[in-house]
């Protein structure tokens, strides 16, 4: 099987357009900043050998990283809320896992479809199965992803679709609006209708056109009534099952609202449908909204490539989302390929000077840590303190503050540019980032061992050392200002190790490293 797979990959690679073309170290490293958890000397060479398309093809075939299932209960017989083993394993995967692109895309998707242990779902065993939805659908179809997440008990619990029963007139209650609202607002359509290029659709008075109103939210709440937790093995199915986080939610027709429901774009789901029929009608209706492609694609571009994509870039990717070339809509593998190979993503490959002023995005803490560790040849133990470090930079894995994730795609810097990751870049966390670099270079992080040996072999000459560091951490391009600053820092040190540490500290705390360009 393994042999067959590798033969298949080789065939794919040979067929890929980029195969055999020469790829510069800068091009490879830039690409890997966008498509992996960070370039390493080895992965740079790999992309140079395979070409971008060849590397993509090999990555699409990989699905190797898993997160360990956790016990349901702790030793005291209560729900186990200890996510530390899952968080630690996540970072082992980011640093050493082979399926780098799948992990990056899964992480991006998980920041659109947020479930969090901060409030709502502190149950540890719910997270590995939930994560696998993104891992397994990262190169699949967006429609399948919508359905898989919608029926996942983790999301069902977090946004209350589970046990959301139809209105009860005797009790004076209404169906819960939470999932119906956020499914539209955060996961599929957004608040404002978008043109294919991501700009808002405007009415005749130049006001943005809303995607839906409150009446639609009330009706959406009814659409997603009548689902409960999966029945645990050995248990008897009930109308309202107790929490169980493996498998998919199951319908409870007696609690599904079967009235006709008018939703967005004046689409009416007919009366009398089952819970699953209503859900399938809803999925069809969602996929039919032209605003979905730019809404989803713009966010994926922001996570992988740049905070401020041009409208043309968004439009090109939206077109692929709407039709992958074979008439299929929502093909994420095609979308990811288009995002990463787009001329706007690749425009800076030639030289640092070819990056336009507003291009790039700030490395979020989880990406920052993963890249640091990969670039510093770290060995990471199954139990490690990496999560504590990202938490200190305001990004604790699986603990987003709310369903609105760690930062908003709409967050703007002081200068008015979109800069989502800047929402968690404060006067405090900026210092904490530098202090993390300090801890890594001059101290220790539990369960982590970096290896500076490759750098030490270049310590005899400032510019050779900085060239080597730039190859790994700066896409083979260092500004003259950083070159000057780092050289001054190196020259004040006496030992080779101190020179390497000083050079790395200067580079890794610099904004030109923190911002992926």
């Amino acid at each position: 099987m393994k042999l067959l797979l590798s033969l298949a990959i080789t065939a794919l690679l040979a067929a890929a357009p980029g195969f055999g073309q020469s790829v510069s170290a800068r091009e490879a490293a830039r690409f890997l900043d966008q498509a992996s958890w960070g370039p390493t000397p080895g992965s740079i060479e790999q992309v140079q050998e395979m070409g971008i398309n060849g590397w993509l093809a090999s990555q699409f075939a990989l699905n190797t990283s898993d997160l360990p299932d956790q016990p349901i209960d702790n030793a005291k017989g209560n729900f186990n809320e200890n996510l530390a083993p899952v968080q630690a394993a996540f970072f082992v995967n980011t640093v050493t896992g082979g399926d780098q692109l799948r992990q990056r895309v899964a992480f991006a998707l998980s920041q659109i479809w947020v479930v969090s242990a901060t409030t709502g779902l502190p149950i540890a065993y719910a997270y590995p199965p939930y994560w696998r939805i993104f891992r397994d659908n990262a190169f699949g179809n967006y429609k399948d992803l919508i359905k898989a997440v919608t029926l996942s008990p983790a999301m069902g619990s977090y946004l209350n679709m589970v046990n959301n029963f139809k209105a009860n007139p005797a009790k004076g209650t209404s169906a819960n609006e939470n999932y119906g609202r956020e499914l539209m607002q955060l996961f599929t359509l957004g608040l404002t209708q978008l043109n294919l290029n991501g700009t808002p659709v405007l009415d005749s008075n130049n006001n943005p056109v809303a995607t839906y109103d409150q009446t639609v939210v009330v009706n959406m709440a009814k659409v997603v009534t009548g689902w409960t937790y999966p029945t645990a093995p050995g248990a008897t199915a009930k109308v309202s099952n107790p929490p169980y986080y493996f498998g998919q939610m199951i319908p409870v027709e007696s609690e599904h609202d079967t009235t006709a429901k008018t939703i967005f774009n004046n689409i009416t789901l007919p009366a009398g449908q089952t819970a699953e029929q209503d859900l399938d009608s809803l999925l069809d209706a969602l996929m039919a909204q032209p605003t979905m492609a730019p809404f989803v694609c713009q966010q994926l571009i922001q996570h992988l490539v740049t905070s401020n994509p041009s409208p043309d870039y968004v439009q090109r990717i939206s077109q692929v989302f709407d039709n992958d070339g074979t008439g299929v809509q929502g093909n994420l593998q095609a979308v990811i390929t288009a995002i990463l190979t787009d001329p706007e993503a690749r425009a800076g490959d030639a030289a640092p000077a070819s990056v336009t002023a507003n291009f790039g995005h700030l490395r979020e803490p989880i990406l920052f840590m993963s890249d640091l560790l990969r670039g510093l040849n770290a060995t990471v133990g199954a139990s490690n303190g990496i999560n504590a470090a990202t938490t200190n930079m305001s990004q604790e894995l699986f603990y987003a503050p709310s369903v609105f994730s760690y930062f908003s795609p709409q967050y703007r810097t002081e200068q008015g540019l979109l800069g989502p990751e800047f929402q968690i870049y404060t006067t405090q966390t900026a210092v904490n980032r530098a202090d993390t670099v300090n801890q890594l270079l001059y101290g220790t992080i539990p369960g982590v061992k970096i290896d500076l040996q490759p750098f030490l072999s270049y310590a005899g000459d400032d510019s050779t050392l900085l060239d080597y560091i730039a190859r790994i951490f700066l896409r083979s391009g260092m500004s003259s200002q950083l070159q000057t600053s780092a050289t001054a820092a190196i020259d004040a040190q006496s030992t080779p190790m101190a020179k390497v540490q000083a050079a790395l500290y200067a580079v890794l705390t610099s904004a030109e490293y923190q911002v992926i360009q």
Binding site: N160, T173, S408, E414, Q415, G419, A434, L482
Partner: protein, 448 residues
């Protein structure tokens, strides 16, 4: 060097009517240690169901009990009923006992049914708007309504927060004797504190802005100098500039903050070991050393999240309200310890309140107008400002049929009342609250 001092962005058209004023022309803000004032915002993220925070104990209690069903708190789940100087007697959620006593001792007031508005709005105008632009942008959406609260510009799209614009005014009027940021967040970046000419400082509770790993040796100083010169150097890449600017601000604020905090003495007041407790303890410690920071006016921002109670609301409130009650009462005790009760006014904000009618999951959905708490020695406590809505689904205060109350007090009025006490002259309020002129009163009265 590229510091916050040299980076103050004044003189642009965006400053608007906040014209530069000569130092010393503001008697209301004349500097003396006893004249210190602080506003402390506690933002309840997720949309607190204030219908269960404070409950009128008049004839409407029967309607409350009937409509709220499984969420209705019985008398045994409430504090004692407190008489009000103005408005109906009220009881608070039973997990807010200290809030209740502060109301009883007239240190805390309730401002009823506050929310984002562009102008006064009747139910008819809401249900049949002449122009959709007359309504706040994206009502019932968490981020949009947080932004509306933080900017006080319900039309949306404001790049600055109302407290940030107050900070701009303070900076331009030279009210504080240093350029240390007037807006101080212990809860991360928030739009509320973003100004045009000033940017907030954010400090993690118990953390420091001092960079770790440096000593006075030449080799260490060379590394520090490298970093210092680099953040000042400028880059052709916009987001690199933005990241540099933030770290430059950290480095510029770090020494002043550390020097001041070094003069602090441990507070005797015990704060609860909660996130909000730690935040408010940090605020109290900054207030203790305000004279060493050179501050005459400061605005603080804290937050507590988790209020998005679509399901299981009673259980969630039973977890969150003790945290809120414990942290707020400890903070008030700390202001007593520091002798600054008259100088510090604390107030709540939240995305929105929630439907009066419950969901089938024993929770509530997103709504609009909400009741807020204001406390401090200067507050006209023991009173209800504004009025509670009529507890009738589909009644005169409802947007639809689930009890989403149309606000009767705008955030502009709430904020302007705070700012009036804070010493912001009426002439400067229009720039802070551009919609304020649409409302008949700019002072609700809870600060005299």
């Amino acid at each position: 060097m590229f510091t916050r001092r040299s980076f103050i962005r004044v003189g642009s058209a965006a400053v608007g009517s906040l014209a530069l004023r000569p130092f010393g022309l503001l008697p209301a803000l004349a500097q003396s240690p006893g004249n210190y004032k602080a506003l402390v915002c506690v933002f309840l993220f997720g949309g607190n169901d204030s219908n269960n925070t404070v409950i009128p104990q008049d004839s409407s209690f029967a309607q409350y009990t009937s409509i709220r069903g499984s969420l209705a708190l019985s008398s045994s789940q409430l504090t004692a009923s407190y008489p009000s100087i103005q408005g109906p007697p009220v009881a608070f959620h039973g997990k807010l006992p200290n809030i209740g006593s502060m109301y009883g001792s007239k240190e805390l007031a309730v401002v009823a049914n506050v929310g984002p508005l562009i102008q006064p709005l009747t139910q008819t105008q809401y249900q049949n708007p002449q122009d959709a632009a007359d309504l706040p942008l994206n009502l019932f959406s968490h981020p949009d309504q947080q932004i509306a609260w933080q900017t006080s510009i319900a039309q949306g799209h404001s790049p600055t927060g109302w407290a940030g614009r107050v900070a701009d005014y303070l900076a331009q009027a030279g009210v504080n004797s240093t350029n240390f940021p007037p807006f101080f967040s212990v809860a991360g970046n928030v739009l509320e504190g973003a100004g045009v000419s000033t940017q907030p400082v954010a400090l993690g509770p118990g953390q420091s802005l001092q960079l770790a790993g440096f000593n006075s040796s030449a080799s260490s100083q060379a590394r520090l100098n490298a970093l210092t010169s680099l953040v000042a150097d400028g880059s052709s890449i916009s987001l690199v500039q933005a990241a540099d600017a933030t770290l430059a601000n950290s480095m510029s604020d770090a020494n002043a903050l550390s020097a001041a905090l070094a003069k602090s003495t441990p507070l005797k007041t015990q704060f609860p070991a909660t996130s909000l407790g730690a935040q408010l303890q940090q605020v109290a410690q900054i207030i203790q050393v305000q004279q060493y920071l050179g501050m005459t006016r400061q605005i603080f921002f804290c937050s507590l999240g988790g209020f998005d109670t679509h399901a299981g609301e009673l259980e969630t409130h039973n977890v969150l309200y003790p945290q809120l009650d414990g942290a707020l009462s400890a903070f008030y005790a700390a202001t007593q310890e520091l002798g600054v009760t008259e100088n510090v006014t604390t107030f709540t904000e939240s995305d929105f309140s929630r439907t009066f009618q419950p969901t089938t999951t024993d929770g509530t959905d997103h709504a609009w107008g909400s009741h807020h708490l204001v406390f401090g020695g200067a507050v006209q406590g023991g009173q209800i400002f504004g009025s509670f809505p009529q507890f009738v689904l589909g009644g005169p205060n409802d947007t639809d049929v689930r009890g989403r109350w149309i606000p009767t007090i705008s955030i502009d009025q709430y904020g302007a009342t705070l700012c009036n006490w804070f010493g912001i002259p009426a002439s400067a309020l229009a720039a802070v609250f551009p919609n304020l002129a649409n409302f008949s009163s700019s002072n609700i009265g809870f600060l005299g």
